[in-house]
Symmetry: C2
Subunit: 155 residues, 2 copies
DNA sequence: GGGATATACTTGCTTCGGCAAGTAACTTAA
DNA sequence: TTAAGTTACTTGCCGAAGCAAGTATATCCC
């Protein structure tokens, strides 16, 4: 039972009413919402969100390829998780693995034409899912500030 | 390959620049952030977020107990997932299952004193995780509006 | 009252993800 | 130049969650 030692007293500062309201709404957004988006993507496109993101980041990369650890950090997954995602996408022909010429330990995940086509087929569903589950509910917010805040959260 | 038929044209309406900025930042927030919060809770408190939420909602319920499906909907998990969470928490003595007197098919998950103590031990970590990973990055936002929007997303 | 249906939960099976250990290839330093 | 260390990726093992099927109880309707 190695628990963290006592937290600094600041951690116990009570939440303001507004913060509390945000915190109360958070589980829905952080836990249920990703599952809902994933489920729609899976149902309508047979792609998980991480698979979709992989195709997307690859499509935007120079030469449509990224080294494994670059892809991992783009999709914010562990390297082992990324290995498996690439395995799946490779087995369906959407990605090819290419040896890296400059570093024999390294592989490039390279988006195939089929992979690009798959992405183009899938993105309307992804956009629809994000709109329906998320964007459409934010009408009252200042999106510019929200985007900045979310980028800030991201780091 | 049963794919959804063509989406309504509205789904293809392009994103505004602000919407796009939000969407770009979304994977970090919806996928990486929950993992980060979970990891901190697991590391420092040996509790998953769903376990923590279960204890929390039970502590707030009348008689500190809820029927399984009530708990499931509170924590927004499937019933089978809830069964397993309750199994885990029960095996550690934090929850007891009590037969429902009015309905023989039903069980109450009931928070024990040990469970309440566990919750009280864990909440500062949870609060700290939420603050550090999320709340502290929202300084620029109108939290009242954000809370309303998030509640809106939740439904 | 008793069969058909519905409800509340549990279990079996599968998938996904992380960590830690393993392997191969590169780099550094003696 | 070769042994030690580091890096890039993969594999083995595990836990968590969902769906679909199973079980037990309740309700409905004749």
């Amino acid at each position: 039972m190695t628990r963290k030692p006592t937290l600094p007293p600041d951690a116990l500062r009570p939440l303001t009413a507004d913060e509390d309201a945000v915190v109360r709404a958070l589980p829905s957004v952080l836990y249920a919402l990703p599952r809902a988006i994933d489920a729609q993507m899976q149902r309508e496109q047979q792609l998980s969100n991480t698979e979709y993101l992989s195709l997307m980041y690859l499509s935007e990369a120079p030469d449509r390829q990224l080294r494994m650890h670059e892809l991992a950090s783009a999709i914010e997954m562990s390297l082992s998780g990324t290995t498996r995602i690439v395995n799946r996408l490779e087995s369906e022909g959407f990605i090819k693995r290419l040896r890296c010429e400059r570093d024999g330990r390294s592989w490039h995940a390279s988006l195939t034409d089929a992979g690009l086509a798959r992405l183009e087929e899938a993105w309307p569903t992804n956009l629809d899912a994000i709109r329906r589950h998320f964007l459409d509910h934010l009408k009252e917010l200042d999106l510019k500030k929200l985007a900045a805040a979310l980028r800030n959260v991201a780091t």
